[in-house]
C-alpha cells in the first residue's frame, strides 16, 4: 500500500508512483484525486482532456497497462505502480506517430478536443490488431465522441495508417 502522509491540518495524502510515458513520477495525492487531474495539474500533461468527466465522451482516454480507459473514472491511487501512456507519449524522439501523421494528412482534426483520446484508442487498436476492418475501427473509437468531424476522416486516417498509406488518395 502506498505510503500515507498526514499533514499538520490532518489531511492524509499518499505517495504513489505513476509510470507515465516511460518515466516514473512520484506524486503526493489525496485519496479522492482523479487520474485525469493528477496528469494535467501535477504532471503538467495537459494533452489529456476533460469533457463530461463521467465516462461518456472519451476525451480523457489514456492507456493503462496498454488498454484504453477513461481516466476521469480512475482514482490516481488505483493507478499506483501501473504503466500509463498519454498523448504526450505517442510521438517518439520528436517524431509523430504514423497515426498522428495520418490524422493530419486526412484532415481528421478540427477543434482537436477529441483528438488525443481518439489517437490513443486507435493506437491501442493497431497494436492489438494491425489490420483492422472499418467495422473494427469504428468499434474501437466508439467511446470517443467527436462533435466536429463526423468521424469519416478519422476512420479513414486510421485505416490508412494500418495500410501504410499516410496521405489520402483523393482529396
Amino acid at each position: 500500500m502506498a505510503q500515507a502522509i498526514t499533514d499538520k491540518d490532518g489531511v492524509k495524502r499518499y505517495l504513489i508512483t505513476l509510470n507515465v510515458n516511460g518515466d516514473a513520477h512520484t506524486v503526493l495525492v489525496k485519496g479522492n484525486a482523479i487520474l485525469t487531474n493528477v496528469l494535467r495539474e501535477q504532471l503538467d500533461l495537459t494533452g489529456t482532456k476533460k469533457g463530461c468527466e463521467l465516462g461518456d465522451c472519451g476525451s480523457c482516454t489514456v492507456l493503462l497497462d496498454g488498454k484504453p480507459v477513461d481516466s476521469c473514472l480512475v482514482l490516481a491511487i488505483e493507478a499506483d505502480g501501473r504503466e500509463i501512456t498519454t498523448i504526450e507519449g505517442v510521438a517518439e524522439n520528436g517524431r509523430l506517430d504514423a497515426i498522428q501523421e495520418s490524422m493530419i494528412n486526412h484532415a481528421a482534426v478540427q477543434c482537436g478536443y477529441c483528438t488525443p483520446g481518439m489517437v490513443l484508442s486507435a493506437k491501442a487498436l493497431l497494436t492489438r490488431n494491425p489490420n483492422p476492418s472499418e467495422q473494427e475501427v469504428r468499434e474501437a473509437i466508439s467511446g470517443n465522441l467527436c462533435r466536429c468531424t463526423g468521424y469519416v476522416h478519422i476512420v479513414e486516417a486510421v485505416l490508412a495508417t494500418a495500410q501504410g498509406r499516410l496521405t489520402p488518395d483523393d482529396h
Partner: protein, 288 residues
C-alpha cells in the same frame, strides 16, 4: 467535478478485505472498476467514508474451467469476458453480452462483479448469467455462502448482499441446455443501456423444447425471470407460433416503466419481439 474525500484501503487478500469490511460496517464501500462508484460519487449520490479497493486481489480476475463448471472471478472485466477464448468456445452468448456494453474504455474498467452487485435492472450480464443458471459465491469474515444468481436480485434494484460481503466468483454449471443468447435493444449500438433486453437458454431434443429459461433486463424494477412464458414452451413442438406466444406471455409478465430511454408500452413491445427472436436464435444457433 468534485469527488468527496474518503479513507482509502487496498487489502492484499480476500481475508484482509473481509476483515476491513467487518470492522468498518456500513461506513465502507467496495471499489472494483469504479465505473459506477466514481460516477455516483461525482453526481452526489454516494459519499462513502471509506473505500475498500479490490485492486490487489488478482486471483479474482481469473476465468477458468473446472470439472463440471466454468468459474469467473468477480473482478474479470467486460473486455476479459468478451475476449476470453474459453467463454467464446463454451458460452459465446455471454461474451457477446459483454460486448453489447459500454465503450471499450468502460469495458476495460468495469467488472462483472460490479455489474451484478450494482443491482440495476438494466445491467447486461445478470440476465444471460441467470439464463445459464449461474450461482455466485459471497465471502465475508463470517464465512462463505453460495446462492443462485437468480435469488440475488429482488425488489426495486435491491440485492441480497450483506454488509461486509465480497462477491468473489460466478459459477456456471455444465449445461443440459443446447443454446443460449442475449438480445439487447439500445438507442445506439455503442455505449447505451438496454431499453429492453432478453436472455434465453433452451434445451432442444429433436423438434421439442425440454427446458427453457427466459430472463429480461430493463423490463421491471429488477431483472425478471418470466416462468409463465417458460412453462408455455416446455414439452412443446417448436414452431413460430409457439415462440410468438412465449414472447406475448413474457411481455404480459413484464412491468417496464416510462423513462427517457423509452415508454413502458414501447418496452413491452420490445420484450415481445426480443424474446421471440432470442428463442429462435438459441434454438437454431446454440450458445451464440
Amino acid at each position: 467535478m468534485y469527488v468527496p474525500d474518503f479513507e482509502y484501503h487496498a487489502p492484499k487478500s480476500v481475508a484482509e478485505a473481509c476483515a476491513i469490511l467487518a470492522e468498518l460496517g456500513d461506513r465502507a464501500t467496495v471499489l472494483a472498476g469504479g465505473t459506477d462508484v466514481l460516477h455516483k460519487m461525482k453526481v452526489g449520490k454516494l459519499a462513502p467514508e471509506h473505500l475498500v479497493s479490490l485492486k490487489h486481489l488478482d486471483e479474482l480476475r481469473e476465468i477458468r474451467e473446472e470439472p463440471g463448471r466454468v468459474v469467473i472471478g468477480a473482478l474479470a472485466s467486460h473486455n476479459q469476458i468478451y475476449n476470453s477464448r474459453l467463454l467464446q468456445r463454451r458460452y459465446l452468448s455471454l461474451s457477446m453480452a459483454a460486448h453489447t456494453m459500454a465503450s471499450n474504455q468502460i469495458c476495460n474498467l468495469g467488472t462483472v462483479g460490479g455489474n451484478i452487485v450494482n443491482g440495476v435492472p438494466s445491467a447486461d450480464l445478470p440476465p444471460i448469467l441467470i439464463a445459464l443458471n449461474a450461482s455466485i459465491r459471497l465471502t465475508s469474515a463470517e464465512g462463505e455462502r453460495t446462492m443462485p444468481l437468480e435469488d440475488f436480485f429482488h425488489g426495486s434494484a435491491q440485492t441480497r448482499i450483506k454488509q461486509g460481503e465480497i462477491l468473489t466468483e460466478i459459477v456456471i454449471p455444465d449445461q443440459a441446455t443446447t443454446g443460449s443468447t442475449y438480445l439487447k435493444f439500445g438507442l445506439r449500438r455503442s455505449g447505451a443501456l438496454a431499453v429492453a433486453a432478453a436472455a434465453v437458454s433452451v434445451q432442444v431434443a429433436g423438434d421439442t423444447l425440454h427446458g427453457v429459461r427466459i430472463v429480461l433486463a430493463s423490463a421491471a424494477p429488477t431483472v425478471l425471470r418470466v416462468t409463465g412464458a417458460e412453462r408455455s414452451l416446455v414439452g412443446r413442438r417448436i414452431d413460430d407460433d409457439l415462440l410468438a406466444e412465449a414472447g406475448y406471455l413474457a411481455a404480459k409478465a413484464s412491468s417496464p416503466r416510462d423513462s427517457i430511454r423509452g415508454s413502458a408500452e414501447y418496452r413491452r413491445n420490445l420484450v415481445e419481439v426480443l424474446t421471440k427472436r432470442a428463442l429462435r436464435k438459441a434454438i437454431d444457433e446454440g450458445h451464440a
